[in-house]
Symmetry: C2
DNA sequence: CGTGACATTGACCTAGCTCAAAGGCTGTGG
DNA sequence: CCACAGCCTTTGAGCTAGGTCAATGTCACG
């Protein structure tokens, strides 16, 4: 299902100008002083675009640094002893994979769901930046990611599958809004199975939930895109936290 | 249910010697150079013991720093729009609350479940330590906490309540083992309702699960303590990740 | 010893899991 | 350019785990 291409094949080339990056609002550089920005520019590397199905890293391999997504979507997952994938996250432009992690081995695997481009910040660079006064910024970036996970964790506890799905739509929309993107049209490059795994239900249940919400006019669903038609009602359905 | 005592009342006094601290193995200081240790000692403050039901901080209040637990147990939770508590974590000695967070407001509330003593590391101190070469250590500490949360998140996705409970026992046991404590006797100061919330089930379901596992001889349960009698079988039940 | 909070057990019912079949896309090869 | 194959998705029909409501049991504390 997913192509197996060693990470070593990803080329690293000169940093393309940050000014052109669509994720500026969410970038570390935003909160850095000019000196720190230069330091970042010296340490960031742009990874050659990953095509759908290509692994960014695999669970159990040595951590090389963290990855800032410029475009595309990447999913992370762990593999159970029974051998099945358990999807732990979907990351979009402006978000950071393996945030703040610099030692040890990866506990998750990361794979592109559609063509994705990323910046890499390696371990030594992270260490260096910490000493340049960017540690608080990096801790905050990591903390933001942690907050998303708590939100998802809380959402997972909803007993109804419909509520969990609605919660996911709200959270995803909110994350898109942060980037200045349309928060009612949600690109959905992942398979239904992946989304179901992420939401703690079986794909049949997810399919039924989507059909039901669509027939009630709350959403419009295509294979690769979900449009929120009645965001307020969905929010009320999800209704457990402010997003 | 929970006493309302303003945080301001918590006294801060001189650091008691770290040599006497039971959580040394899990402390930041362990990985620090002598100079950094001095820096830590200068910045750490011991909070006067919190009694059961006392809040360490509340969601929405300004973040003051992070807290390292020396003894006792603290639970964190968010409150839904419907006004009910949703328990997001139980923290034991050697673990860090609000890890790496230094800006903004708390997204969760934290309350002691039994008498707890803690060290506080405030915002400025975190910033200062970052510049002293401790940023990687702090990022790693935060990352470790994040890993626990992913484990829990994965556990929450288990469809069977029995498996979720078994997974919790394994994870809790593992965390105790890290501290050199007995990993088969699990102190359980929290209410059943809290534990059920944490595990994404109703308290009746939790109660039934506990009764069932007890009658099968896998555990022995008391109100405030769960003893694992057949850890291997429980691990197999939970059986989705290596702990 | 009594009271109230917490925990357990029971009975019932519904949401979602399981198994199964049919429908739709997508990509490949003729 | 079309046809076919394989995969993904949807829909259907039971069945069961766990949610809900209610009653009973137990413990801690005054």
């Amino acid at each position: 299902m997913t192509a197996i291409i060693p990470i070593a094949e990803h080329n690293v080339r000169e940093l393309t100008p940050c000014k052109l990056c669509p994720t500026q609002k969410a970038c570390l550089a935003q909160q850095a002083t000019p000196v720190q920005q230069q330091c970042l520019a010296d340490n960031l590397r742009v990874v050659s675009p990953l095509h759908a199905g290509v692994f960014l890293y695999r669970a159990g391999t040595q951590v090389q640094g963290q990855y800032h997504i410029r475009s595309g979507m990447v999913k992370t997952f762990v593999t159970t002893t029974a051998g099945e994938e358990c999807v732990t996250g979907f990351y979009i432009a402006g978000e950071t994979l393996n945030s703040g992690r610099c030692l040890g081995v990866h506990s998750e695997s990361a794979v592109a769901l559609e063509t994705a481009s990323l910046c890499r910040l390696d371990t030594q660079a992270i260490e260096h930046l910490g000493n340049q006064g960017l540690s608080v910024v990096m801790l905050e970036k990591q903390a933001e990611q942690a907050r998303y996970e708590v939100m998802h964790q809380v959402n997972l506890r909803q007993t109804s599958a419909e509520k969990r799905f609605a919660g996911y739509c709200m959270q995803y929309g909110m994350r898109r809004a942060r980037l200045g993107l349309d928060d009612t049209v949600l690109p959905t490059p992942m398979r239904r199975t992946d989304l179901a795994s992420y939401l703690g239900m079986k794909l049949e249940s997810l399919s039924r939930v989507i059909s039901r919400l669509q027939s009630r006019g709350l959403i419009a669903a295509r294979r690769d895109q979900i449009t929120l038609l009645q965001a307020e009602e969905l929010a009320e359905l999800a209704g457990h936290l402010r997003y």
